[in-house]
């Protein structure tokens, strides 16, 4: 279950002990793209090289330090029984656990297999299917252990990652957007691709964070950042049908990067106290 609206993060007191906080980066089922976003921040990271101790980051360094870690960044989804055990160990060694990217926060593209014929896929794809030990579903990290903060996206946004590190280093409040991608379209002056071109777009139900990248290139939003705080999926479905998509086409659009997360909002939004 995703945290629809991130609650303010409480930085552990242990971060106050005067040493640079130790950072570990962990990988589960994923493409490495989110970790690479971290490497992509090299200029900024050099500036803080002395302020944070990177203790475990196989993608970037061969040095490995055993825990505990102040902060663990976790990429990828849980797809095997071994993964499910490993994330518990990591949680025990981490003061703060931050999931990064759609795989870790929603199960990722590999969650397309959820509810489908996994054995069938396995025998088609692998020469020796008996070597492949898979769980029936690809699930987000938060389904297995408590998560302190989620950075959404496929991949995550560099600037959100840096803001998170800055907030961590100086123990200040971190605020990530919870509103729709439309808010960013309007702020940057991108004309709505649905209204002006009739292009199907997931922007109205997707959380801002990418600065409305796809609509700025005349594409509809693919929902990389998952559901915004109060996504009205049924109402958007109705509009996408008016724009010419059929049910299967809409399913396909919703299923791409954050399928299981959007699926939680297929019902009419509950009418709370007015």
């Amino acid at each position: 279950m995703q945290h629809a609206s991130p609650s303010p993060i409480v930085w552990p007191d242990s971060l106050d002990r005067g040493e640079p906080p130790s950072l570990a980066v962990w990988k589960f089922a994923s493409c490495d793209g989110c970790q690479l976003s971290l490497l992509d921040c090299e200029d900024e990271l050099l500036a803080v090289a002395g302020r944070v101790a990177i203790s475990y980051f196989p993608e970037a360094t061969t040095a490995m330090v055993s825990g505990p870690y102040d902060v663990s960044l976790v990429e990828g989804s849980i797809t095997t029984a071994h993964d499910a055990e490993r994330i518990r160990q990591i949680r025990r060694q981490s003061r703060l656990l931050v999931t990064i990217g759609a795989c870790a926060t929603a199960g990722g593209i590999q969650a397309l297999r959820n509810g489908r014929d996994v054995d069938g896929f396995r025998s088609i794809v692998y020469a020796h299917p008996e070597y492949i030990d898979l769980l029936a579903e690809s699930t987000p990290i938060a389904d297995h252990v408590p998560v302190d903060l989620e950075l959404r996206g496929c991949p995550i946004d560099r600037s959100q990652l840096l803001q998170t590190l800055a907030a961590l280093l100086d123990r200040h409040a971190l605020r990530l957007p919870t509103t729709s991608v439309c808010v960013d379209c309007k702020a940057r002056g991108t004309s709505c691709v649905m209204v002006a071109h009739g292009t199907p777009c997931l922007g109205p139900i997707t959380q801002a964070g990418c600065n409305a990248l796809c609509p700025s290139f005349h594409r509809g939003c693919y929902g990389c950042f998952g559901p915004m705080e109060s996504p009205n999926v049924p109402a958007l479905r109705t509009q996408l049908e008016l724009l010419g998509l059929d049910g299967a086409g809409i399913d396909r659009l919703l299923d791409t990067f954050n399928g299981p997360a959007f699926a939680e909002f297929e019902q009419e939004p509950e009418s709370g106290p007015p």
Partner: protein, 395 residues
């Protein structure tokens, strides 16, 4: 001496004491000279520009930046621009941008902070002396500018950023001869012709001998600009044609804002709020395109080195849960509560707060709502007896 210097002693808001009998006649070449003069006299000139199939308000550098021979069709959740082959430059209705994008932009710096000798130093943002002009403002936009101005400068703490951008803004209005079917300015305030609040106002008319522009001045600085261009007065025949064109435009309105809208939207328990909530995406497009929606949030960013910080004012929307997030959580958690906040503030409590309606009838929220929620239809449903649960029509 530049016009800016000539205007040094002129109160930019002062309305000319002479009767509005001065009508100047411009042709395309004169319009070109007017735009050139604006670009010389002002640091930034804004006007309509066709970008990706939509008329936007952007900075322009010459008349060539303006669209020519295009018109648009708009309806609930739909906007399409197409070519007409005419030489007209203003024969289309409103796009998504109002003057809000100029005077109250989506992001506006507030201050930067830095560590210096063990203490924190705050450098407030400078709002500068950039002078600005806009060509193509519509009557409803001018009304909206005044409403927005009241919200930002009407109290004891006038916003310096808004004041700096607004006070010297030179406004060239365009009378709407092609209102969109989504417009309802006639019943919501001013329009389709601008009758005040401009420096110059222009009516574009198609003429067998080429397009003509009839110009009138609303301020002394507008008048001095007309004199600087050495323009001739318009013949009465053209002024009659203008009257007819506007009469025709005035007949085109199919939507309206009823007189009792202010009461209707205050029925907090009306079942229609739940009905519209089934369609509303809480995406915030309506508040972003509304020329009078003014709410903002503060965005603080601290540098990775921990030595500097910036505060930026950014547009916010009452359709966001975070907007009403107090200690225990958002107090407008439901979509119904948020849609009701938008409509009942705009049309109801805005009267209590600012002494007028917050809606000028531009229709932008109708066109740019991705699911085509139409506030005039919502008002109609809210006017029905709350006991007979009204059914929602799809766009």
């Amino acid at each position: 001496m530049t016009l800016a210097q000539r205007w040094a002693g002129v109160d930019p808001g002062s309305v000319s004491s002479e009767p509005a009998a001065e009508w100047w006649l411009m042709r395309a070449g004169d319009l070109h000279r007017l735009v050139s003069l604006l670009t010389v006299e002002f640091d930034e000139v804004f006007g309509p520009v066709a970008v990706d199939g939509v008329i936007r308000v952007r900075q322009i550098h010459s008349l060539a930046d303006l669209p020519i021979g295009v018109t648009e069709e708009q309806e609930t959740a739909s906007y399409r621009l197409h070519e007409t082959g005419t030489a007209l430059r203003f024969s289309y209705g409103l796009g998504p941008d109002s003057l809000k994008s100029i005077v109250h932009p989506p992001r506006s710096p507030v201050w930067t902070m830095r560590r210096q000798d063990g203490s924190l130093v705050v450098d407030p943002a400078l709002h500068g002396t950039t002078t600005r002009a806009v060509i193509g403002a519509r009557a409803c936009d001018i009304r909206a500018l005044e409403i927005l101005e009241r919200t930002q400068t009407g109290g004891p703490h006038a916003d310096p950023a808004f004041t700096a951008r607004r006070s010297e803004l030179f406004v060239v209005a365009i009378d709407c001869t092609h209102p969109a079917p989504t417009c309802f300015c006639k019943t919501a305030g001013q329009g389709p012709a601008a009758d005040q609040g401009f420096d110059l106002a222009v009516t574009e008319l198609d003429d067998p001998n080429g397009v003509v522009y009839l110009v009138r001045a609303g301020t002394d600085r507008g008048r001095s600009m007309m004199f600087a261009l050495h323009l001739g007065y318009a013949p009465p025949r053209q002024i009659e044609r203008r009257t007819r064109a506007l009469e025709e435009a005035n007949r085109d309105f199919i939507r309206e804002l009823p007189n009792d809208a202010s009461d209707v939207v205050r029925q907090t328990d009306h079942p229609q709020w739940e009905v519209v909530a089934e369609r509303c995406l809480t995406c915030g497009n309506c508040t972003a395109v509304c020329p009078t929606c003014f709410c903002t949030d503060m965005e603080d960013r601290v540098g990775l080195d921990g030595e500097t910080a910036t505060r930026t004012r950014v547009w916010d929307t009452c359709f966001s849960q975070e907007y009403s997030h107090l200690g225990p959580g958002p107090h407008r958690a439901s979509t119904a509560a948020r849609y009701r906040q938008w409509l009942s503030h705009k049309l109801g409590t805005w009267h209590d707060q600012f002494g007028e309606s917050g809606c000028v009838g531009c229709g932008r929220c109708i066109t740019w709502c991705p699911v085509g929620i139409d506030l005039t239809a919502e008002i109609e449903s809210l006017s029905l007896d709350p006991l007979s649960r009204p059914s929602e029509e799809m766009p």
